[in-house]
Amino acid sequence: MDMITVKIDGKDIQVPADATVLTAAQMAGIDIPTLCYYPGLRPEGACRVCAVEVEGVKSLVASCVYPVTPGAVIHTNTPRVRNARRTIVELMLANHPNSCLTCERNNNCELQQIAFKVGVRKVSFSGERREWLKDETSPSVVRDPEKCILCGRCVKVCNDIQSAGILNYNNRGFDTLVAPVLNRGLGSTSCVACGQCSVVCPVGAITEKNDVDEVWRALSDPKLHVVVQTAPAVRVAIGEEFGLTSSVETGKLVAGLRRLGFDRVFDTDFTADLTIIEEAHELLHRIQNGGTLPMITSCSPGWIKFLEHNYPALLPHLSTCKSPQQMFGALAKSYYADKMGLKPEEIYVVSIMPCTAKKYEAKRPEMSRDGIVDVDAVLTTRELGRMFEEAGIDFAKLPDEEFDEPMGISTGAAVIFGASGGVMEAALRTAVEVITGKELHDIEFAQVRGLEGIKEATLDVAGQKVKVAVANGLANARKLMDLLAAGQADYHFIEIMSCPGGCIGGGGQPLPVDMEVRLARMKAIYQADRDLPLRKSHENPAVKELYKTFLGKPLGHKSHELLHTSYTCRPLFKEC
């Protein structure tokens, strides 16, 4: 890339010729406030908070979209710029509820931070306010349009990154509203509940559905035996809620959960190992018996809903395996209940997930038996952080503790479920050994790792070519499904994760998220894998025991009843 010289605030600096004024300023160490700009999303220049002065240009320009030109002279800190920024933020606040103290995003709100940063100490404008109802129809995500500042980040993530196309600008001018068609409740649309909108929302206009109080209620009910399971991606991100960098915090996480009062602290990784065994056998069964191929993973509930609405004809490609969360719930209320001599209804299962769609998944009618749901409550990583705060737990000072047995025992293959490509890699570690009957030494499959949207690999397994693909982010999944629908995808196995980067970038993870954070979490996931003595699912002793004493064999009768599920065809634009 050609470099050019520009002058920012009196200092000459070399920047790439295709830089924007914003990135050029960042390179010069100047922090320009932004609101609608979000790394990884198409910049739009909608909010104008990033206004700067460029010599020779009459009006202020939005630095996030304004390109640099050779010799440009830019001022980011003039009275005119400071006044404009302040006025813009004041105008936003004039039509924003002053409910900061009770807002989900209190202390973690970009509008709050910017108002402070640009020096707004009073709002000089008053006038009509928008009045919109809160949308609480989705089990995963709550919309509060009165708090919306119309930055459009959720519209871009929903359309460009996830290709779900649920949120769009409606109406015009003062009546502008970011909402689904006809301002329907999210719960009655084809929204996949991925929650990426809640990740990019700078304010409290889109948040996860808060289920913290339900869990507190269960914990204080003496009649209930409350168990908790925690997903792989939670352990590498929960520290961020307390100002730590992304790293493996499994020990502290377990200790914290125990302090909250859970009767048993278990690991979703236990059933992730189980998922791998069931799924690998299902794949082999399909290959050997002419079943529908490619087989596609079914761990990501947003992805399931996306396929049900958008490509119902492709549903037979989905593995019938329930996700690890749901397998855990089903086993907690059967296998574990038997072991403990408890009735299923006396057990309350909480899961801690990086995901908002898991809340929806737990409420699917298929995910219950005899009126007893597999999983009773789902909390996101963010909600767990809030519970720790409420309980006065100083996360950084917690000691390291171990999961309880037996459903807390797991392998490295389960941990990597948390990163895009991980389920594929874990399945290969098991499937290759099952097919060849020999021990696999080289167990790291680098081709399927990383943040790239679509990854492909061809493996030679006992003389047979096995072709696999991995996609993360639903727009990338759509590309693969279009190929599959056109008969141009000759893969054996496809892994799909709804969120960019996989579960580590999930809709329920700590804020803020960008490429760097995703990479750091991913690195931590693979570190957690290397740290474990066992790294192949079929070597998990607790899972072996489970098959020996309870399930029988993979794909057997009990597995079918407890661990497998079915899917529903749904209309393209709404919920049935």
Binding site: N159, A164, G165, I166, L167, N168, Y169, N170, N171, R172, P180, V181, L182, P312, A313, L314, L315, P316, T568, C569, R570, P571, L572, F573, C576
Partner: protein, 165 residues
């Protein structure tokens, strides 16, 4: 088992207009930037933009329904509710205002029992708010469909309205 779509999927009203819509979609779906003309023609066909028609357009253009809806609600020219056979526009411009147009509008509303922006139950009339129709010399003035009625008094209204079946 999953051939075709599920039972709750798209069932188009049995209506010849939807055959005509399919022809229009064939004409426009390959053209870039054709969404607005497509919506205009659809509205000409149905008198408004029915939801099943917007869904058909979204499928054919391979864009989210929300995108179509966003465009349809941005422009004042598109209607999402059925409209009356006769559209009444009582001018509310400055010249008309000083010559009593609010009394004219009040009388129309009273005669029809609806508010501005609404349609009568029998779909005979729709009252549409309008800022100025550019015929200040005839103030107070109104338009019904393409016909202009000027120098109005409230007493004239019922007779004029009756002319439109």
């Amino acid at each position: 088992m999953f051939e075709g779509a599920c039972a709750c999927a798209q069932q188009l009203p049995n209506n010849g207009d939807y055959d005509r819509l399919a022809e229009l979609l064939n004409k426009y779906k390959q053209q870039k930037g054709a969404l607005i003309p497509m919506l205009q023609e659809t509205q000409k066909l149905f008198g408004y933009l029915p939801e099943p028609a917007m869904e058909q357009i979204a499928r054919a253009f391979a864009v989210p329904l929300g995108h179509i809806y966003g465009v349809a609600t941005f422009y004042a020219q598109f209607y999402l509710e059925p409209r009356g056979r006769h559209v009444i526009r009582v001018c509310q411009g400055t010249a008309c205002h000083v010559r009593g147009s609010s009394k004219i509008l009040d009388r129309v509303k009273q005669e029809l029992g609806i508010n501005a922006g609404e349609t009568t139950k029998d779909f005979r009339y729709t009252i549409e708010p309008v800022a100025c129709i550019g015929a200040c010399g005839l103030a107070p003035v109104m338009m019904i469909n393409e016909n202009t009625h000027g120098r109005l008094t409230p007493e004239m209204m019922s007779k004029i309205l009756l002319k439109y079946e």
